[in-house]
């Protein structure tokens, strides 16, 4: 396992960085926010991502994807974290694509994966039913009815839910075992309520009331659906951790630039040892987060059986560090850091929201203890 980027990965990272800073900088995000964009992201940008092949980054070549791996997906999200770029990349190109790949039948893959690759569809991934992440708390049911299924339950804060064409729902079958069901959002019995969040994203709450589905709505291609679900969530965790890392990195960079410029008492505030030590400590923490996020991403690609503890630990560390970096950022900016005019507050908000997604640092710590057997 290598902790350095190979040439292909470097090219991908560099091109993503220049694309995003040009096409989707923080000003673009502000514009979406201020115009109350009903999707919460730019459809044009999503098309561009498809053109560049990002949407297929986790899709096999057979279905038109680049099959570049989880590490590469993480690299893209890290850059999106830096520019605060909202898009359905994580929900559709990472979670839904991984779900189809891990648990879809050949027919389901053939039907859906090309649509993900082409960027023509947005698919949400609906797991949580409570306020805090807990994949064991699933009360939504998908029970057999004739040749089909009937779906009942509620899901909360489904990422990109406002714009989704379909959602993959984690439910329990008649035996109480977890299963994955792909549901069209226009299906009868599906209601959704968009939720504008603090980071100006637009997830949605979903209610499924006696939603009658064809048999092929059930993703039944995995030998072990429960294992597949865990893998999907771990991929999601490592990838959102990569986004959090990007948030932390950029927040740190702008903060350091600011304290070098900003003068108080006649000198740059960066010359005060109190701030210097905090900045150095913060950099150390970011370096730690960077390593463990890389480790989790690589492990998912190379030895996925060992990934659970790394994914949980990376998620916890990236959550804590991105919150810490952005919080220190506001403090070091001082009063102007509190104004909407400066970007640091936007990073703070995104750090919080990304942190709660698929389990925050407290959740991750509990998981690490459990997986370590203590």
């Amino acid at each position: 396992m290598s902790f350095v980027l190979n040439e292909e990965e470097q090219m991908l990272r560099d091109s993503a960085r220049s694309f995003l800073t040009e096409t989707a900088p923080v000003t673009a995000f502000r514009k979406l926010r201020d115009e109350n964009n009903p999707d919460g992201f730019s459809r044009d940008l999503w098309s561009s991502m498809a053109e560049m092949g990002w949407t297929g980054i986790l899709v096999e070549e057979d279905h038109g994807g680049a099959d570049f791996g989880v590490f590469a997906a993480g690299l893209l999200l890290q850059e999106m974290g830096r520019t605060l770029t909202p898009s359905p990349f994580l929900s559709t190109a990472v979670l839904a694509a991984t779900a189809l790949r891990a648990a879809g039948s050949d027919a389901q893959k053939a039907k859906w994966l090309p649509k993900i690759v082409s960027g023509e569809t947005v698919i949400g991934f609906a797991v949580d039913e409570r306020a805090r992440h807990n994949p064991e708390h699933i009360n939504t049911t998908a029970k057999k009815q004739g040749n089909g299924l009937v779906l009942n339950g509620t899901k909360r804060f489904v990422a990109n839910g406002a714009a989704a064409d379909a959602v993959i729902v984690v439910a329990r079958n008649e035996e109480g075992a977890p299963c994955l069901v792909l549901v069209d959002c226009n299906q009868k019995g599906v209601t959704r309520k968009a939720r504008r969040t603090v980071d100006s994203h637009l997830p949605a709450d979903f209610t499924f009331e006696d939603v009658a589905l064809d048999g092929d709505a059930l993703l039944d291609g995995a030998e072990d659906t429960e294992g597949a679900l865990k893998h999907i969530l771990d991929v999601g965790r490592a990838c959102i951790a990569a986004e959090s890392l990007g948030v932390a990195e950029q927040a740190f960079d702008v903060t350091i630039d600011y304290i070098k410029e900003r003068e108080q008492f006649g000198v740059p505030i960066a010359s005060f040892q109190g701030l210097q030590h905090r900045a150095a400590h913060l950099l150390s923490e970011i370096e730690m987060a960077r390593s463990i996020v890389m480790k989790a991403l690589r492990t998912l690609d190379e030895t996925p059986s060992q990934a659970p503890i790394w994914a949980a630990a990376a998620k916890a560390k990236a959550t804590a560090v991105s919150r810490f970096a952005t919080s220190e950022g506001i403090q070091m900016f001082g009063g102007v850091g509190m104004t909407d005019e400066y970007d640091i507050g936007l990073y703070y908000k995104r750090a919080q929201a990304a942190g709660e997604f698929l389990g925050d640092d407290a959740w991750g710590a509990g998981q690490v203890a459990k997986l370590s057997g203590y």
Binding site: R132, V198, T339, A353, D360, G366
Partner: protein, 392 residues
């Protein structure tokens, strides 16, 4: 009159005079009475309560009677507060005039200034805001650049202030203005009272990360103020400002520990408790327990400092410890609120008016350790003035 008699009479008077609508806790900003020329009372009860209390001088119970105060002794004022608390009576009037300008005028103002301004503050007729901070000044308050040039018996003022809370709703501003350009940094500053209606004074709200805010930018463009509006002597502004800041600090600390959502409540709101009522996530529960311990220690410290002050020990630079600990604690509380609320806490807007309140309060709390002297400044003060550590 013995204190016991005073307590009894006070209680009777409050019982008889506090309208029922003023005996329930304020629900939001709108329920707080700030007064001022353009004040619109939220209710008749609010108006009546202010009038009755102001008539006795009990909006500012410890100020001298001749300036609109109640003339009460410290003990009597404490009893009044105690009795109001017991019957859950709201404060009849809150204002920067009461908290900040009043004490400064009482200490530094001329007799004319006291007679002119204090009664109007006491009756809620004039609403004041403060003009200290400037763009780029931050913690280095003495570096301010708003300039007042003497022209006859008036200062012609030019410059810009930021963080002037409620400037858009205020009638007058007390501002720090550099009136002696050549004097050393701390010495050339004057404390000037300026009518916001003065030509050349304008104001604009600041949008914060938590959304709309009471904070404004205030601009002075050849605005004129008579020399008689200087409090104390010209050049004495820095001392007065420091005196006021200690009052502001106390205010921020009391905000920091005042009610509002706590993580246990948040966990209940979000349904994140188990059947025994315990916070479901054991790691989060541990974090909350450590917060509780620190909150209890802080609560005890506030009581201790009060007791020490009553005994005559000056609070002095210890106020910096309170400010530092209280605001950092409040930030931690809000962070844990957000963790306990999970995705519920992320809501920014919704159909209900209170939707997004938790997130806004959380974001607002970030300012606690910046306003009124940053945490770094407080630590500097403690290091230098309490521990007497040497400078570099």
């Amino acid at each position: 009159m013995s204190l016991e008699t005073f307590r009894k009479e006070t209680r009777d008077w409050l019982e008889a005079n506090c309208p029922p609508g003023m005996r329930v806790p304020a629900k939001g900003e709108a329920d707080i009475c700030w007064g001022g020329r353009n004040w619109t009372f939220a209710s008749d009860d609010q108006r009546i309560w202010l009038e009755r209390m102001a008539e006795r001088g009990w909006t500012v119970p410890a100020w001298p009677k001749e300036y609109g105060g109640g003339g009460l002794s410290k003990e009597e004022a404490f009893i009044l507060k105690d009795e109001m608390k017991a019957m859950k009576a709201r404060s009849p009037l809150d204002s920067f005039g009461i908290w900040m300008l009043g004490p400064a005028l009482l200490k530094y103002g001329s007799e004319e200034q006291k007679r002119e301004h204090l009664p109007k503050i006491a009756r809620g007729e004039i609403r004041w805001c403060q003009g200290y901070s400037e763009p780029g000044a931050g913690s280095d308050l003495a570096s301010l650049r708003t300039k007042g040039v003497l022209d006859g018996d008036e200062y012609v003022i030019n410059g810009q202030k930021v963080w002037t809370s409620y400037a858009d709703k205020s009638d007058w501003i007390f501002a720090l203005v550099r009136t002696e350009a050549d004097a050393p940094k701390h010495l050339g500053i004057s404390f000037i009272l300026i009518d916001m209606d003065t030509p050349g004074v304008s104001t604009k709200p600041i949008k914060l990360i938590s959304g709309k805010s009471p904070f404004c930018e205030t601009f002075f463009d050849d605005a004129r103020a008579p020399v008689s509006h200087v409090v104390g002597k010209p050049g004495q502004g820095w001392d007065i400002a420091k005196y006021l800041l200690s009052h502001e600090r106390a205010g921020i600390v009391s905000d920091a520990v005042s009610g509002g959502l706590n993580p246990v409540g948040a966990a209940h709101l979000a349904g994140e408790v188990d059947e025994k009522g315990q916070i479901a996530d054991p790691i989060l529960r541990g974090d909350v327990a450590r917060l509780t311990i620190d909150a209890l220690a802080f609560e005890a410290t506030l009581r201790r400092v009060k007791d020490e002050a009553d005994k005559g020990e000056g609070v002095g630079a210890k106020a910096s410890i309170l400010k530092y600990v209280g605001t950092e604690l409040n930030k931690r509380r809000h962070e844990l609120n957000m963790s306990a609320l999970g995705s519920d806490g992320l809501l920014w807007e919704g159909e209900k008016e209170e939707d997004g309140d938790a997130a806004r309060s959380w974001l607002r709390s970030r300012a606690n350790s910046i306003e009124g002297g940053t945490s770094e400044i407080q630590l500097n003060i403690v290091a230098k003035r309490v521990l007497e550590l040497p400078g570099t």
